[in-house]
């Protein structure tokens, strides 16, 4: 609707990808209904295997060629290396922030962390790194947060509303780690800028990273990543959130529930949401019940002599 109201016409360009059906159709609308002069597109392969990597790399090269032609610029290896170094600066700050969340008393809440991750995506890099440095410095002295009712891992797709995470955390449990598209899952390890082919290095880092559910055939890896994170974060449970109408993550929650029947790896709460609306009451009620369940389970374990 913002497109149709002309709110994006100030842009010089936009780039879309075949991440999902919705984004493909949004791209159709962007192309036909805006005055944006440049439209780029990435057809990202649907399975992260080596034989498809070349296609992805070629897509990036085509996109670069499009930029160069339209904007009359040149993107060479040196510029690519510089961009990698800049992105690495962002990555190291986010890695530091995520590490602080894993402490026994996390230095920041899940909502705060998500806000930081979103800021990393939207702010100019130099502004972000400056603010992040100041934040990290302040966080060192911040007393850690209590999570009296439990530690949670939040997993799911697109979520750019810290208020949603606030609603989850309002019930006394903290989101100490996440695998969200705009959250910790988006944070790569620093990429080596000094390779002979910096574009390929960046492409490889993105293509083979912990994937979104739009990647077919990669659920086993996503499951391993999730269970390892639950372990690392010493989490008591997992909250899964999905935007209604998101099919790939719809398949994902089915598969997570199926695995849990076999492995009982962690308690799970599955939430559905609509974009732009935070149904605080509903979320609080569901999370409250879930957190109570976690507390009861911990108490029962303690009573039976097991670790809490």
């Amino acid at each position: 609707s913002m497109v149709l109201d002309g709110k994006y016409d100030f842009l010089d360009g936009e780039i879309s990808a075949n991440t999902c059906d919705h984004v493909r159709r949004a791209f159709d609308v962007f192309k036909k209904k805006t005055a944006i002069p440049f439209h780029g597109f990435l057809s990202v392969p649907r399975n992260p295997r080596e034989s498809l990597f070349g296609y992805y790399l070629n897509e990036l090269k085509n996109l670069i060629a499009g930029f160069e032609e339209h904007f009359n610029i040149k993107i060479d290896d040196e510029k690519m290396r510089e961009a990698i170094r800049t992105a690495n600066e962002i990555r190291t700050r986010l890695i530091a922030v995520n590490k602080m969340r894993l402490e026994d008393r996390p230095k920041l809440s899940g909502a705060e962390s998500l806000a930081v991750h979103i800021a990393a995506q939207v702010l100019p890099p130099a502004v972000f790194t400056d603010l992040a440095d100041r934040l990290i410095e302040k966080l060192k002295d911040r007393p850690g947060l209590e999570s009296p009712r439990g530690r949670l891992v939040l997993v799911g797709a697109e979520l750019d509303e810290p208020k949603y995470v606030e609603a989850i955390e309002s019930q006394g449990a903290l989101v100490v780690a996440d695998l969200l598209c705009f959250g910790a899952r988006s944070v790569l390890d620093p990429v080596d800028p000094d390779t002979t082919d910096p574009l390929a290095a960046v492409a490889r880092a993105y293509f083979f990273r912990p994937s979104c559910a739009r990647m077919i055939g990669d659920f086993p890896n996503r499951w391993t990543t999730l269970t390892q994170l639950v372990d690392t974060a010493r989490a008591d449970g997992v909250v899964f959130e999905r935007l209604i109408f998101c099919d790939p993550w719809g398949g994902e929650i089915h598969n997570i529930m199926l695995r849990l029947k076999k492995e009982a790896a962690f308690p799970l709460l599955s939430l559905e949401r609509e974009y732009g609306i935070v149904p605080t009451g509903q979320v609080k009620t569901r999370v409250q019940a879930f957190v109570e369940k976690l507390e009861i389970a911990r108490a029962q374990k303690a009573a039976s002599g097991g670790p809490e």
């Binding site: 075949n18 999902c20 059906d21 919705h22 493909r24 159709r25 949004a26 791209f27 159709d28 609308v29 192309k31 036909k32 597109f41 057809s43 392969p45 649907r46 399975n47 295997r49 034989s51 498809l52 296609y55 559910a213 739009r214 077919i216 055939g217 659920f219 999905r242 209604i244 109408f245 998101c246 099919d247 790939p248 719809g250 398949g251 994902e252 929650i253 089915h254 598969n255 997570i256 529930m257 199926l258 695995r259 599955s270 559905e272």
Partner: protein, 433 residues
């Protein structure tokens, strides 16, 4: 596992019991070559499946965006489309069974807003209704619901899984990219089925596939005739043929049956009703009750000469000269011709362009967008589609329903919408000339 293990499952027993009854019923009209061949083809398909079960042959599951020629070419390997049993229940059996599939898929966590085509596949797999596979194949077309279903398929089956990536673009590079993956797929299938690809057999399979395709093209030409003399409900048969029968003699026979019927009825000038309005049904058919099309014809004089499931683009046949040309041709079939995959995997331009081709070629008066509610890539483009039809001055009916779940929109509501559209919009326009 043996055939009786399959037949004794209630969900299969119903199909095996109903199919002979329906075959007998349809032979009551000996000129209904299309339906007669289709029911015969399904009988053969099921018998082959049971033979494979008895013989302990490997099975390969896949989703409906894939065409099974490569699997047939391996010899005694049985392809299973995971949506097939639910579709058979809609066409031949009790739709309550496919509703049970939907409900159990949702109960297992697949969200209600996912496509019911995938829910019927997931529900059938959950119940262990298909012989266990040696491996599975998932293709990302036509849509994200298939992306979800293929991953559920991989997880439920816990056997090696091969993903085929079909890019966004309509160009030769896309076809070559998919052909490259089909070559990888051959090695994968050989490894996990224990069978060797026989390229001579593939050649014969592709020749049958070509014959089927050419026959379907010819059949579709006959459906351009005004008035339409062959039943509207047969319009969607192309997709069923391409998913279940392509590369087999049954596929050829069904296509020839459809063609023969269309030609004979047209040449005889048979008319059982007065055709008043011709519509391109440009979305999913009403699988839960395809007799609805009979009602449209009799009560409204509304015919559907072609729909999106029936149209098969002429992008070329499979060149059977070499293994590489065959893989290329098979790739092109799946990405450039396969209904829905062709129209929806890229931008809306292809969808709109194909519609304009259909409305002109098949002499249609209007478009019915029967909006399957979970079809996001269709609904996502409805604004652009609507605008295009407005510019072209083509009347458009848009309504919501679910192609496998009649609980979403009652039949009465659909009747009402279509009747009003035909009588109050299309006919007055036609009469005004």
């Amino acid at each position: 596992m043996n055939r009786y293990d399959v037949i004794n499952m209630p969900e299969w027993r119903e199909i095996f019991q109903n199919l002979p009854v329906l075959r007998h019923f349809f032979t009551g009209d000996p000129d209904s070559h299309g339906i007669i061949e289709l029911t015969r083809g399904i009988s053969i398909y099921l018998e082959k499946m049971l033979h494979h079960v008895d013989s302990g042959h490997p099975f390969v599951w896949f989703n409906l965006g894939f065409n099974p020629e490569l699997i047939f070419a391996l010899g005694d390997v049985c392809p299973i489309t995971i949506e097939s049993l639910g579709v058979m229940h809609n066409l031949l059996g009790d739709i309550d069974t496919s509703l049970d599939f939907i409900d159990s898929a949702e109960a297992a966590g697949l969200p209600a807003d996912c496509c019911s085509a995938d829910k019927i596949g997931v529900g059938a797999m959950q119940r262990g209704l298909f012989p266990p596979p040696a491996c599975t194949i998932g293709i990302n077309t036509p849509c994200d619901a298939q992306v979800a279903a293929t991953q559920v398929m991989a997880e439920i089956s816990q056997v090696p899984f091969f993903a085929i990536d079909v890019p966004y673009y309509h160009n030769d590079e896309t076809v070559r990219h998919v052909a490259m993956q089909l070559k990888e797929l051959v090695a994968f299938l050989e490894e996990h089925t224990g069978r060797r690809m026989n390229y001579d057999r593939l050649r014969e399979t592709c020749k049958l596939s070509n014959t089927t395709t050419e026959t379907l093209w010819e059949w579709l030409e006959w459906r351009k005739q005004v008035p339409l003399t062959q039943s509207s409900k047969l319009a969607a048969m192309t997709l069923i043929i391409q998913i279940l029968f392509t590369g087999t003699q049954e596929g050829v026979d069904i296509a020839k049956g459809l063609l023969r019927e269309a030609r004979e009825r047209t040449e005889r000038g048979e008319r059982f009703f007065e055709e008043r309005v011709r519509a391109v049904w440009y979305q999913d058919p009403m699988w839960t009750d395809i007799q609805m099309y009979d009602w449209f014809e009799r009560e409204l004089g509304l015919t559907v000469p072609v729909d999106i499931f029936g149209f098969y683009a002429n992008e070329g046949l499979i060149d059977t000269a070499t293994p590489e040309t065959m893989l290329y041709g098979l790739a092109r079939k799946m990405v450039a011709c396969h209904p829905m995959a062709r129209q929806f995997r890229g931008d809306m331009d292809m969808y709109i362009r194909d519609f304009m081709h259909l409305v002109e070629g098949w002499n249609a008066d209007c478009c019915i967008f029967a909006g399957h509610i979970a079809c996001k890539h269709a609904w996502g483009g409805i604004g652009l589609f609507r605008e295009a039809l407005r510019r072209a001055d083509i009347p458009l009916l848009v309504f919501e329903f679910d192609m496998f779940d009649p609980r979403i929109t009652p039949y009465d509501d659909i009747y009402f919408e279509v009747e009003r559209f035909v009588n109050e919009i299309v006919l007055p326009r036609k009469q005004r000339g």
